[in-house]
Subunit: 243 residues, 3 copies
């Protein structure tokens, strides 16, 4: 699955929906047992959630958007296929979340390709299920530090903290990801799937149980004047940077 939403694979409402439908199709097609998730956009795996979907819109739109983000995570985190992330570009925030849903993460060794949940730097807060996914991956203390400081880990640090499983030269990312997925697909599917479900069920259930509350929390948080203002400022600075 090659992510391709120019310019930087931002997770717009439309793109989120496409991703969920694509994964669903692959899961239902019995000829597929695994998926490599990688980017077709040079230098960026995914820039994460789409701030334009969270800024200057209606509460109903915020709610619709957030449900789509939840749906992406629920589908990918609980995907019965083997999911390997071949991270061939920068991987902040929502991009990192997608990578964290994989079974195995290979990161290209390029100092520009950092990975992390850097929400606090924008003045926003990762929801509890982003947090749970990170805690499951790097442990409680490292997650506490990373989430509060909004840390983006460059490759060597990413490997050390365990947010990725391998760091390899950029030109080898795809071939190493292929070797990794072969290792995972060598396991009897049924046993692997049941084990994966067992490992992730409690975490997924926490969101499923509180899904509506989580939407309400997001809508009321993102609708605040102070948050809207800081997002607008951030978006304007981004535009100036590009312009």
């Amino acid at each position: 699955m090659r992510l391709n939403n120019p310019p930087v694979n931002t997770l717009s409402l439309e793109f989120l929906t496409e991703l969920v439908i694509s994964l669903e199709k692959l899961e239902n097609d019995k000829s597929f047992r695994g998926v490599i998730l990688t980017s077709d956009r040079p230098g960026v795996f995914s820039s994460g959630l789409d701030l334009t979907e969270m800024c200057g819109r209606s509460p109903a739109h915020y709610a619709e958007y957030w449900k789509a983000v939840q749906e992406l995570w629920l589908r990918f985190y609980q995907c019965s296929l083997v999911l390997v992330a071949a991270i061939n570009g920068a991987c902040p925030a929502g991009g990192c979340l997608m990578a964290l849903t994989s079974d195995h993460r290979v990161l290209a060794d390029n100092p520009k390709y950092s990975i992390g949940l850097n929400e606090t730097l924008l003045g926003i807060v990762a929801p509890f299920w982003f947090k749970d996914t990170l805690v499951n991956t790097i442990g409680h203390r490292a997650a506490e530090r990373a989430l509060q400081l909004g840390l983006l880990f460059p490759p060597a640090q990413a490997l050390q903290v365990g947010i990725v499983d391998q760091v390899v030269p950029e030109e080898q990312v795809q071939s190493v990801a292929l070797s990794a997925i072969a290792q995972w697909m060598a396991i009897p599917d049924h046993a692997r799937q049941l084990t994966k479900a067992m490992m992730r069920k409690a975490t997924a259930s926490r969101l499923i149980t509180h899904r509506e509350d989580d939407v309400q929390n997001f809508v009321s948080f993102i609708s605040r004047d102070s948050i809207q203002k800081s997002l607008q400022l951030y978006l304007e600075r981004l535009k100036q940077k590009k312009g």
Copy 2:
């Protein structure tokens, strides 16, 4: 306590029952404060659960066997004595589970002596309490990977991932285990026991609460035609290997 159920310390129904009774006796004998768990069979700590108890038998037998496996874990994991595993041989699946119930694990540095929960390789699934025990020992992410891939860690990797506490030359396993148990027994018993119970209570309670469901799950899973067929195939291959 020297494991001795020829040829490879397979955890048959009878051997499980013996182990539980032996440990109970040691707990009730006030002259004992700690136990070293090791093998009298060359090259094997324990080969794990007995597949012949899970194959071609009645549902009632499967249920009886599974209750005995639960009982072993509950007794050993909550044992008030200091438990040190001197792992002087291969330690897969149920053998690994037993080792994981210890307070301290010393592994002989022999590349043939790997340790891990490799159930998925046989097409079966470790139950949630095997999983909980492994997560408590090596963390969520390492456990997710190890359980899905059915990893058997050779000594250096076992030490690195934390599934054992020490790797030492084979001829020193017993003496190092003795030093370790001396360190643990130097702690006031009552305070150590209360602390151990506090650390392990939540995990043990999860099984105690769902014990009957867990038996039913096992019986219905193991009774499936597909599982029975793959276990039969595996057992036949084992026989041919030996023959």
Copy 3:
């Protein structure tokens, strides 16, 4: 905040109350966004709980004292300010607990300055919320081992197990702590505070929910003859050492 309760910053009932009030004042004073916690007593960060408050007193006194210990932890662990511990001395038991409530821990590289929850060595047991705080910091397995053995980690080991974040030459502890707090204060306050609360809420709630039970447990445990005797012995030995 400079700890100064001669000779060794023992957490007496009075000192606990002072600490809580001081922190409360700083939280309410909007000109403060962060606090460095360090010691004014040479060689000791804090010697921990005050055994004289737990020995030869009335059950009502034990209950009052324990409530104050709970209050300290609840306030410090859930503090909305950035809290950095500049650990410039020995840091056992209750001193370690205080340090563990911080967002970042810097330890002076002096072999005499060890840190850990060594309660079992005195024949007593750390309560579940000490345990939860340690598990959140160093993980379940390391906490299980450290708590049962009452381990006091010297600097290099403390860094390796993750009970502190940095070990630096003694004369640099304060300046490194200042750099660390600057890094934490660079994050938008509101987002950082919400993230911190999200990370720590479940752990704090466990005590809040069981606060009264926890007091009763402590009072009945500490009132036992055997515990009182071993505390008296320990205190007498301490006096002789000093005398």
